[in-house]
């Protein structure tokens, strides 16, 4: 309404038209049409053609509206029929395996799925389940089952600084959090000069069994998962670009990266789900 002294141009410009011309009966008819209930007998005759158009829109399907079925069925066979069995079996295995082998073996199993670099590192770390470790021993020269980090102090080879990344990774696998394992693996990959060289690199250096080293390395892990004194030994420096363990996967989507960078349990920052 326009009060005294207020011009018509001061009135707000509303984006919708006035609805005085619309009768309640017509609104009811339109609502009925939209709900698929047909046109009431009292409806305006102008709406009859509209009702016919809507009926045509819901007519039985024509042949050209049923094309694409074969492609959809093929997609269904690919993603529902066959993978259903795969999903079921993959759901069962990790749970049963982890419960049987314990947290240590579970960590090793998780590392295996990271890819070759992770698998090789886990194999060398000697924390794979017995038969897998024995297989790795025969296949790639990883330590035999039972010859892992239980080597008595001072027995056999002398300690080596070059083994520190290997040892740090073994310890992180055994006792560290996921982020510590990730950091230790990164150090190890850098030290070795690539994920594919981890096994050979660790195999080439003497195991760190020196009493002094064992004392140091048995202390608490640094925040990055590596011993405080650990550093890359004599090598040509870290490889250029991102750690080679990530190569071949798109950034942020590699299984290795997602497994490695998974936050540690109990880490703050996860927002609770909103209440419904």
């Amino acid at each position: 309404m326009t009060g005294g002294g207020v011009s018509g141009s001061d009135m707000p410009s509303l984006p919708w038209t006035a609805r005085q011309d619309v009768s309640p009966v017509e609104d009811t008819s339109l609502a009925a049409l939209l709900a698929g209930n047909g046109l009431p007998a009292s409806a305006d005759s102008e709406l009859r053609p509209v009702a016919d158009v809507l009926a045509a829109l819901t007519a039985r399907p024509a042949g050209d509206e049923l094309t694409g079925l074969a492609a959809a069925q093929a997609e269904f066979r690919r993603h529902v029929v066959r993978p259903a069995g795969v999903r079921r079996s993959s759901r069962r295995r990790p749970g049963g395996l982890a419960s049987r082998l314990g947290a240590k073996a579970g960590a090793a199993t998780a590392v295996v799925v990271m890819g070759f670099g992770g698998a090789a590192a886990a194999a060398y770390a000697g924390v794979l389940p017995g038969s897998w470790q024995q297989f790795a021993h025969r296949a790639i020269g990883a330590p035999a089952h039972g010859a892992g980090h239980d080597t008595p102090a001072g027995a056999g080879a002398a300690g080596s600084a070059a083994d520190r990344p290997c040892a740090a990774y073994r310890r992180a696998l055994a006792d560290g959090t996921a982020s510590q394992q990730a950091a230790a693996l990164r150090d190890l990959v850098q030290a070795a000069g690539g994920a594919g060289k981890v096994t050979a690199w660790c195999a080439a250096v003497p195991r760190a069994s020196h009493p002094a080293y064992r004392t140091q390395s048995s202390g608490p892990l640094a925040r990055d998962g590596s011993p405080h004194h650990a550093g890359p030994p004599h090598h040509a420096g870290p490889p250029a670009g991102p750690p080679s363990v990530y190569r071949g996967w798109p950034p942020g989507s590699s299984p290795a990266r997602s497994a490695l960078d998974r936050p540690a349990r109990g880490r703050a920052g996860r927002r609770p789900l909103p209440r419904a």
């Binding site: 939209l34 698929g36 509209v50 007519a59 050209d64 069925q73």
Partner: protein, 192 residues
């Protein structure tokens, strides 16, 4: 006499059909597809006439991949299907990679709905095509609301969620669209 395809839909059989499809039954999935695809194609032919078949196919790819995660009744299924279609359409528009392909008549004759008379079917098809053409003349929002309400069979609230509008805005758009349709028909003297 036009026979609506959206009257009973699957109704009480929907839960068992969905569950069977999720377990890997191809006949059950085929049933879901045959029930929904015509409505999906009609919707897309109005709002994306050049890419309707491509987007429909892309929609089913995504639906198939997410099928095992879906939980809900038939209205929720339809809402999910059309929401997926709308998202695929937006993606397709962004990519600007619309391809035009000749339709492949790959549905076996036995799977086609039984028609009483070829002449009736031809008339129905012509009428449906004309109706789609008419609806495409409406503003996009009005056309979408009418299609989602009438062809997809969604309630006002579901359409509002799908379009990101308020239920009131959806109601108004639907009514305006029907009124505009009446005007177009009156101006052109169109009879189906």
């Amino acid at each position: 006499m036009l026979v609506p395809i959206l009257g009973a839909v699957l109704g009480e059989e929907f839960p068992s059909a969905l569950a069977a499809a999720q377990r890997g039954s191809e006949p059950a999935f085929t049933r879901l597809w045959l029930d929904a695809n015509p409505a999906l194609v009609r919707y897309l032919r109005v709002i994306a006439p050049e890419a309707a078949e491509d987007v429909a196919a892309d929609t089913w790819v995504h639906v198939v991949r997410g099928l095992h995660r879906f939980r809900g009744d038939e209205p929720a299924w339809r809402a999910w299907l059309f929401t997926t279609a709308r998202r695929r359409l937006i993606d397709a528009s962004r990519r600007r990679s619309r391809r035009r392909e000749e339709p492949l008549h790959d549905v076996p004759a036995a799977a086609l709905p039984v028609t009483a008379d070829a002449a009736d079917e031809a008339m129905e098809r012509l009428a449906t095509r004309s109706a789609i053409t008419l609806l495409a003349r409406l503003p996009r929002l009005q056309a979408e609301v009418i299609l989602l309400r009438v062809v997809a069979g969604l309630e006002t609230d579901a359409v509002a969620r799908l379009l990101g509008r308020s239920p009131g805005a959806v109601r108004v758009a639907g009514h305006r669209g029907l009124r505009r349709l009446a005007e177009i028909l009156a101006e052109a003297g169109v009879t189906l």
